[in-house]
């Protein structure tokens, strides 16, 4: 008999001994024991060195500093950087996925061009590999041609998750030099634009907030997936461990439309009817005012100290003196006086006694803060829901207070040494002089307050008014999969020359005419300033852990290389810039004068530490007075002018409960939403316009493992068990047993979810804890491309969600769709 392979089948070995007897086997066993065992052999092998490089995670916008472990040229581990203020040595579940992304076997290995002129879901693009020179020259020839024809505006660049001046930050100058208003189209209208807009309308900062969570004692959370996705996710988790065990323990109330881990871990979970968060917030404001619980030092008080806020009764404005708010009494008279808990109970389905309880807790605990993001704002009443929630932060005095909300400070980067204005040539000037609108129509009469409208682009292109796109470049966004009514893109992209930069074979790439694949984040240099975090400035530097494993190019260099190939002054500009490395070194010059708290004062020290930051945050509100940091403490008093310049950047320099900014758009808001013009500026209840003729709300949350889609082709992530996604290799629809029973649906049945756009077939998981009127299908599944594991796994709800947006902010109304559900004929 042959040598028994001990390592491949030990059970087989035992069986062999049993049947053949000892004699035949002994020899081979002796032969085996003369060899070193695998563990001994390993012990004798030389110990290679493990290198740790500093990078920044790319699974969400949090900017967690990471240590990337590389041995023998291969990345095998990623941990949080211990001395990084956001990650603090920790990571969220997505943070550990980086090596799977780097070594994804379905990655593009280099630049390619399409050879099949037909485009479609079932058309093989028949990509062929080309050189970088050919790819860049092809793109440049096309772009030069557009400029020669005076049609430079027909080139657009659509970005998603690009960060920093060395990356997506390069697109502004590219557009300016090239002559297109479309070089910096973003995706924020399917992210959280309404929350930024609501905040701007009240406190003057068009930004997400920075939060002092660790010092708050009450967190009232409207639809922010704090323990699942809300950034900075990892730091939120760290904060959770602290605030839930500190003394006093931070009390948490979550308002959501489905049972989440965030809601389950909180003290109270109020499951509201989708789109009614604003009504709940107004009722909480009503209780705070009628019971005299508002922060008098921040808001002000009645002149004689007697509370005249009585349910249903108007108040004489002259009896109240406001401090840092503007319009409280007008707001009360116009809206809040009638927004009783009993009224809100009918709108939200939350019992009045529960609303009162939460209002008491929130109104009597300091510091307290109300946070919100996408959840309450994915409806047509987005901005008004946001205003109603953010108003609570004024009532409890949490703006710029300990345990409250701040705005994020910027980074003192060095200026780029190349004077872009000197390189704007006549073609670009002529293009700018046309004053053409962006293809996404932002800041036009259609959307004066939109900052992006990615979901409108396919329609606007096909309408062709006032122009159609010719060439569209995508960077880190895949709207063909992710926008509402996503299949519209498949028609729109038929007559557009598509350039995709993704390293992955996503849906967008399948429509690409040319692919210039980017590095993954572990292969690149890049600056990454923080998202709003704790207010003080912070920026990271990505350092490659390994040389690019394929023939890819970092997006910034691709853009610079295209720029070099544009005729005239633009080409000269980009020859001066040279590459991303030069940009980064110029940025780092700013740290020479402004060394970080960790000693970072140069490009080299920035790369070594991975992060530059400078504490503290400079401003604070203490008991209704504003102070600036004087080097030791917050002791330098701020004048109302200082506060207006730095903090409340509104017309009044106050937190506006009657938004003067929004009132400028009174005609628009009245026309689009029917709000009486004189009421436009107030936070108020506005009935959401649900779309569809069904009877169940379809909501499509992101799961904790979603990683902005970057986990879609990672089998390790796909197999993880998670509530709502199903996990363990399956996706399912959460549905309450009552609506299921009424439709003859049993647990595990296959059903059709139908909207006016079509249907998707999914398996039901009966979930008694869910709202009976709301079904939950996780987002991120149902790819028809994107790699062997992503493809054909589950269903993509985006295909049946109608494209409806909040007219004010432009944010998609993803969670406002009413669908029908019925059992499918075939259960196979």
């Amino acid at each position: 008999m042959g040598k028994i392979d001990l390592t491949t089948s030990r059970r087989g070995f035992l069986q062999a001994t049993a049947v053949t007897g000892a004699a035949g086997v002994v020899g081979s066993v002796v032969g085996e024991v003369l060899q070193p065992t695998p563990s001994e052999a390993l012990a004798q092998a030389p110990r290679p060195e493990t290198k740790i490089t500093k990078n920044v995670c790319h699974q969400c916008p949090a900017r967690c500093g990471i240590d990337v472990y590389t041995t023998n040229g291969k990345v095998h581990a990623i941990y949080g950087t211990l001395d990084h203020p956001i990650s603090n040595g920790k990571l969220c579940p997505k943070g550990h996925l980086g090596a799977y992304i780097l070594y994804d076997p379905d990655r593009f290995t280099g630049p390619m061009k399409r050879t099949n002129p037909k485009k479609g879901r079932n058309e093989d693009p028949r990509f062929v590999r080309i050189t970088w020179d050919e790819a860049l020259n092809t793109i440049a020839a096309r772009l030069n041609g557009l400029r020669d024809k005076g049609e430079s505006h027909r080139f657009a660049l659509l970005t998603g998750r690009g960060w920093g001046a060395s990356d997506a930050g390069l697109t502004d100058n590219f557009g300016k030099l090239y002559g297109t208003p479309n070089a910096s189209l973003g995706h924020s209208s399917m992210c959280s634009d309404a929350s930024k807009r609501a905040k701007q309308l009240m406190d003057g900062n068009y930004s997400y907030n920075a939060y002092d969570y660790r010092n708050t004692n009450y967190l009232l959370n409207f639809g922010a997936a704090y323990l699942e996705a809300f950034r900075p996710y990892n730091n939120n988790l760290q904060t959770w461990g602290h605030i839930r065990t500190k003394s006093p323990k931070t009390k948490v109330t979550v308002v959501d439309i489905r049972v989440t881990t965030t809601g389950a871990a909180a003290d109270h979970l109020l499951l509201v009817k989708p789109g009614t968060d604003g009504a709940l917030a107004l009722a909480i404001a009503h209780v705070i005012l009628t019971e005299g619980l508002w922060d008098k030092k921040f808001v002000g008080d009645f002149n004689d100290g007697n509370n005249r806020f009585i349910s249903g009764f108007s108040v004489d404005q002259s009896t109240f003196t406001e401090r840092w708010t503007k319009g409280l009494v007008e707001w009360w008279n116009a809206e809040v006086k009638d927004r009783t808990p009993e009224w809100a109970s009918k709108v939200t389905t939350i019992p009045a006694k529960d609303i009162v309880k939460v209002a008491h807790e929130f109104g009597t605990t300091r510091p307290a803060m109300a946070i919100f993001e996408r959840g309450p704002t994915t409806h047509t009443n987005a901005v008004y829901n946001g205003l109603s929630i953010h108003a609570l932060n004024a009532l409890v005095g949490s703006m710029y207070a300990v345990g409250g909300l701040m705005s994020q400070m910027g980074v003192p980067y060095g200026a780029l040494p190349w004077k872009v204005d000197e390189y704007v040539d006549d073609i670009a000037k002529a293009a700018a002089a046309k004053k053409l609108p962006r293809i996404d129509r932002v800041k036009t009469a259609e959307g004066p307050l939109w900052s992006n409208m990615i979901q409108g682009i396919p329609d606007f292109h096909m309408e062709g008014k006032p122009y159609k796109l010719d060439t569209l470049m995508f960077y880190l966004t895949n709207p063909i999969f992710s926008t509402p009514d996503c299949t519209r893109w498949e028609k729109a992209l038929q007559d557009i020359f598509v350039i995709d930069t993704s390293p992955f074979p996503g849906e967008t790439a399948m429509f690409a005419d040319i692919v210039v694949p980017d590095h993954t984040y572990l292969e690149r240099w890049q600056d990454t300033p923080t998202y709003p975090f704790q207010g003080y400035p912070l920026t990271n530097l990505r350092t490659p852990a390994v040389k690019p494993i394929h023939d890819t190019k970092v997006f910034g260099d691709t853009l610079i290389e295209i720029g070099k190939r544009i005729n005239g002054k633009m080409g000269e500009y980009y020859k001066q810039v040279g590459n991303v490395d030069n940009v980064l070194r110029a940025l780092a010059k700013g740290f020479e004068k402004n060394p970080g708290d960790n000693g970072v004062n140069s490009f080299e020290t920035w790369a070594e530490k991975g992060v530059w930051y400078k504490k503290p945050y400079l401003w604070r509100q203490i008991a209704g007075e504003f102070y600036e940091w004087d080097g030791v403490d917050y002791r330098k008093p701020m004048s109302p002018e200082d506060v207006k310049k730095r903090l409340f950047k509104t017309e009044s320099g106050k937190f506006e409960l009657r938004s003067s900014y929004l009132e400028k758009y009174a005609d628009f808001v009245n026309a689009k939403l029917g709000v009486p013009k004189e009421r436009v500026g107030f936070p108020q209840w506005l009935e959401p316009r649900y779309s569809g003729k069904g009877d169940l709300f379809l909501v499509t949350p992101k799961t904790p493992m979603h990683a902005e889609g970057r986990s879609a082709n990672i089998p390790q992530a796909i197999s993880i068990y998670q509530p709502v996604s199903g996990g363990r290799n399956q996706t399912f629809l959460e549905m309450h047993p009552k609506p299921a029973k009424a439709r003859g649906i049993k647990n595990g049945d296959l059903v059709h979810i139908k909207s006016e756009l079509g249907s998707v077939k999914v398996r039901v998981h009966l979930t008694p804890a869910a709202r009976p009127d709301t079904i939950v299908l996780p987002f991120g599944f149902g790819h028809w491309a994107h790699g062997r594991w992503a493809k054909d796994r589950g269903e993509n709800a985006s295909a049946i969600i109608p494209n409806i947006s909040d007219p004010i902010s432009g944010l998609t109304s993803n969670y406002s769709t009413l669908v029908t559900v019925e059992k499918t004929e075939s259960q196979a």
């Binding site: 390592t7 035992l14 990623i78 943070g95 065990t245 389950a264 290799n729």
Partner: protein
């Protein structure tokens, strides 16, 4: 020598599963081979439905039933308290998987649940089940302690990150990931746990932080009635997340 044990504070645990992915990454596990899983339980009905979760590593029992049933001596209790598998002795008979009350032993079945089978994408070299580019460095792999990529036809399980903890200096009482001196010796799930729900230390040392936590916060052990005497303790806190239905072997949802 320390007898290592883990404490998991359920009041802090957010169910995020960073422990799960950190373990998959650190130990080069196959998709679905989740040595450190978190189980979710949905109980009750709207509007008072409840979602709870339970992180579930190997309990590294003092009296491990898996070791008792192992016919070849492959399953063993190491001196430092870890329950390990010697892959050079394991015959893949799976008796231990049946004997374990906690469902924390794994076997790479012929048909992987998550298709396409990643073992065909990164096919094995030599006797291992697969050979991914992101595998644990060869010099760290240690089949006698069940560390690294397993050979075919063996059972695998959580090792308490034996390759890390076994390098801790003698006399260490607690492995604190926030202390640069002990961070590298701390198990991956404890290192990454963002809400700091996990603690790791010497159960034999009454001065250790884990012993203090068990005493102060009334640490409890899962399925203690089996007599296995786990070395993983749970703190249920003020808002205990221990599910009503304590089926930890075959969770449905």
């Amino acid at each position: 020598m320390a007898r290592w044990g883990m404490v998991i504070d359920l009041e802090k645990c957010t169910g995020c599963q960073a422990c799960t992915t950190a373990c998959l990454m650190e130990n080069s596990r196959l998709p679905g081979e989740m040595w450190q899983d978190v189980l979710f339980y949905s109980e009750g009905e709207y509007p008072s439905g409840k979602l709870s979760w339970l992180p579930r590593p190997c309990m590294h029992c003092e009296n491990p039933s898996c070791v008792a049933v192992c016919p070849t001596g492959a399953a063993y209790k190491a001196e430092n308290g870890a329950v390990l598998i010697d892959w050079e002795k394991c015959i893949g008979c799976k008796y231990c998987m049946i004997a374990c009350p906690y469902g924390v032993r794994f076997y790479a079945e012929e048909k992987q649940k998550t298709q396409p089978d990643i073992r065909n994408v990164f096919p094995p070299s030599g006797d291992k089940v697969w050979d991914p580019p992101y595998k644990m460095p060869e010099h760290v792999q240690d089949p006698k302690h069940g560390v690294g990529i397993q050979p075919k036809n063996v059972v695998s399980k959580c090792t308490f990150c034996y390759h890390r903890i076994s390098k801790a200096p003698e006399g260490t009482t607690d492995l604190d990931p926030n202390d640069p001196a002990t961070r590298d010796f701390t198990p991956a799930c404890v290192v990454t746990c963002a809400p700091t729900a996990r603690f790791f230390g010497d159960l034999d040392n009454p001065e250790s932080n884990v012993r203090k936590l068990i005493a102060e916060k009334r640490g409890t052990r899962l399925l203690d009635q089996t007599g296995n005497r786990p070395q993983v303790y749970y703190l249920a806190g003020e808002s205990p997340a221990i599910p009503e239905t304590r089926s930890v072997r075959n969770p449905k949802t």
